[in-house]
Symmetry: C2
């Protein structure tokens, strides 16, 4: 498995708008076992995204999906920056399943 | 929802043993929507754990479950320390469901 833990910052006041785009653009991605979008309660504009994929190739391929490309285009003006980008190797746990 | 992103370090050479304890001790936890245990490929002894719970109370209650208490007791001697402990407010995504 291939995992990512990332933190992004929205431009001031735009976190809700950015979250809505992320939630919409990340449905039905082949090879995606888990994709959790979260607010940082300690930082008004910060968003954490934690992802698990069957492999790195599935993650890379997802970036070419039309829905994801549209989400990236809509989200880009609302993103101020990225603070963390950590690659992991998930070994197991709960809530890891391929979408129907 | 209530989320946690944490990094722990195993004592030198004990990551695999610690992972096995964590995987075993974190099954069937009420209110747990997602629990992903991962190796850090860049750091030989590091483990990332990302969790999503229905609420903070479910997470707190899980720490009293017999299986979790046993896992904590077995794991403690193999843990060198914790580097990150981030609370989040998950808003949605994929792979969030209550266990059967």
């Amino acid at each position: 498995m291939y995992g990512l833990i990332g933190k992004m910052r929205a431009t001031p006041g735009q976190r809700e708008a950015l979250l809505a785009i992320l939630l919409e653009g990340t449905e039905a991605m082949p090879g995606c076992l888990s994709y959790v979008i979260a607010q940082d309660p300690a930082e008004a504009d910060a968003i954490w995204i934690t992802e698990v994929w069957t492999d790195a190739a599935s993650h890379t391929a997802s970036l070419s999906l039309p829905a994801v490309q549209q989400a990236i285009a809509k989200a880009r003006p609302l993103i101020a920056g990225f603070d963390h980008h950590i690659e992991t190797v998930p070994v197991g746990g709960q809530g890891l399943s391929l979408p129907m």
